[in-house]
Amino acid sequence: MIRPLAEIANLSIVHSADGVETTLVDDLSFSVSSGETLAIVGESGSGKSLSSLAVMGLLSQELRVTQGSVNFEGVDLLTLSDEEMRQRRGRDMSMVFQEPMTSLNPVRNIGSQITESIEENLGLSRAAARSRTIDLLKEVGVADAERRMRQYPHHFSGGMRQRVMIAIALAAEPKLIVADEPTTALDVTIQAQILDLMTKVCADHGTALILITHNLGIVARYAKRVNVMYGGRIVETGTAADLYYRPRHHYTQGLLSSVPRLDQSRDEPLHPIRGNPADPFVPISGCRFHPRCPAAQRKCKSERPPFDGQIACHFPLSIKEKLAG
């Protein structure tokens, strides 16, 4: 078996304020391999973004990792100093955020923001970094790169800014890219362009891609494996096809029947999950999904279901139920 590029094991993240500690990510384990696209799906408050920020060493001050490890090519990133992490960011791993306007510096031109990353991480000369910047911009589909690198973020449309973000993320040829809702702020036609570009570039370079999204269509088109998160935990993991055709967790099933689809009849009714996404700051006993679960039983209220590597549920759906229901 190929050793995964990054292995997250038993990771817990706690928020502390005014002496109150709240567990936001609870005993999370997953891995991602080179050249692979892993999707993380979940609603607000599921901990999907936090877990990747922890991998990047970018947790804010009130958040703390209380247990677990992030093994990246044999090194536990959580044991590194801030300075060592800073050197790894950009070179080994980089991140693409949802809102490209707020993640670019508005008072510096595009070119300098890309060359900075190249000079810093690859130690190239100014001229070499400049020519690599032009190549990168061309690779991500920014036409007329020589002229455009002298322009500022406000000269760029949302889609173009996201292309620039991808260029910056790729600048030092990292081994892992984490993209947190990279196309949520973009139009559908641009969304398709950006995701096609991103998955293609990652496949070409053998880069591992963690794609955080709430859109099940994007998961289906771009990811091979999926982690479904709820209430700070992975509740189900598997290949995109397995989860779609044979969901076993009631939450996965609920998500799938919540979305209207173009390939189904208009009259097909939607079956929403009742209630609201679990508020991480409100304690829930047992399985955190139980107040919303159609199949919850007494055990679900009292006992937290263990994660067996595929699913965390006391009474998972059998395949037969899926076909009948």
Partner: protein, 329 residues
């Protein structure tokens, strides 16, 4: 013929761009350009398109929050385009809006009960205000407990329910929903969509539903108009538009939506749309879509196509599509 309930007739909205010390007008943003649409009473009409296509501006002209530069808007037999002040009040009582972000459209310092009661008071509701507010909350699936909660004490879905309850307070006939479910989590989106559908039947409401998520618009709306750079490119009933799209832009838009089925996604042919939406400050000559269109002809670069009837109920503004039947003759 069925009388139209809301009729938008040749409506254009241009915003001046001013510059310099004297604020001289240097250009014009043509946000909406000669749009004509009719809504029947009780139907849900969808407006789709990418950002900057003018769908929200059009909705705001219907709400009379933005003035039309040219054209007319008729509501239930009355021309409301230029109504002002007191003359506008009766219209305001019949048309309500639900916005995208329930967090910024609800006053953070008011409890839900007061937010809704305020609308009743402004419109001179004579009965038991508290009782009516609780009735409205209940209609939107919220218990009496929410009367005393502030917006920050609620989840996104609950806030949107308060937003809908507020819209219903005036007992409107028409509700303009501008991206009303876009900011919500997937499982909550479905709840709100179901609520909107249920309310429409129960209260005989007419919806003008603006959205960018095509699958939601198709699910919720009877008829749909696709907009691009201020113009309507195609209109048809939902079933027809999504199963038999004619305009190349509509086709590209539908194709770009990924389905949650991984196997069908793996085998689906998909040619994306290249390029980006041009600036409405300087729209292309001829058909505004021609620089991105995969099937553009010479004519498309110079002559702007009009919205033409392909067959009853299905219109498109495209030279290639509308000239096809003649070629076959």
């Amino acid at each position: 013929m069925e009388p139209s309930f809301l009729r938008i007739e040749g409506v254009s909205v241009h915003f001046p761009v001013r510059k310099g010390l004297l604020q001289r007008q240097v250009a014009e943003v043509k946000a909406v350009e000669k749009v004509s649409l009719t809504l029947k009473r009780g139907e849900a009409f969808g407006l789709v398109g990418e950002s900057g296509c003018g769908k929200t501006t059009l909705a705001r002209t219907v709400l009379r929050l933005v003035n039309t530069t040219e054209g007319e808007i008729w509501f239930d037999g009355e021309n409301i385009t230029h109504l002002k002040g007191a003359a506008l009040a009766p219209y305001r009582k019949r048309v309500a809006a639900v916005f995208q972000d329930p967090f910024s459209s609800l006053n953070p310092r008011m409890r839900a009960g007061k937010i809704i009661a305020e609308v009743l008071r402004v419109h001179g509701y004579a009965g038991d205000v508290k009782g009516r507010v609780i009735e409205l909350l209940d209609l939107c699936g919220l218990s009496e407990r929410f009367f005393d909660l502030y917006p920050h004490q609620m989840s996104g879905g609950q806030r949107q329910r308060v937003g809908i309850a507020r819209a219903l307070a005036i007992e409107p006939d028409l509700i303009v929903c501008d991206e009303a479910v876009s900011a919500l989590d997937v499982s909550i989106q479905a709840q709100i969509i179901n609520l909107l559908e249920e309310l429409r039947v129960r209260l005989n409401l007419t919806y003008l539903f603006i959205g960018h998520d095509l699958s939601i618009v198709r699910h919720l709306c009877d008829r749909v108009a696709v907009m691009y750079l201020g113009r309507v490119m195609e209109t048809a009933n939902s079933e027809e538009l999504f199963s038999n799209p004619q305009h190349p832009y509509t086709r590209a838009l539908i194709e770009a939506v990924p389905n949650p089925d991984p196997l069908s996604e793996a085998t689906r042919e998909f040619v994306g749309l290249s390029g980006e939406v041009p600036s409405p400050l300087d729209p292309p000559a001829g058909c505004v879509f021609h620089p991105r269109c995969p099937i553009a002809m010479d004519k498309c670069c110079s002559v702007e196509p009009m919205l033409e009837i392909l067959h009853p109920g299905h219109n498109a503004a495209c030279h290639v599509v509308t000239s096809r039947p003649e070629d076959e003759k």
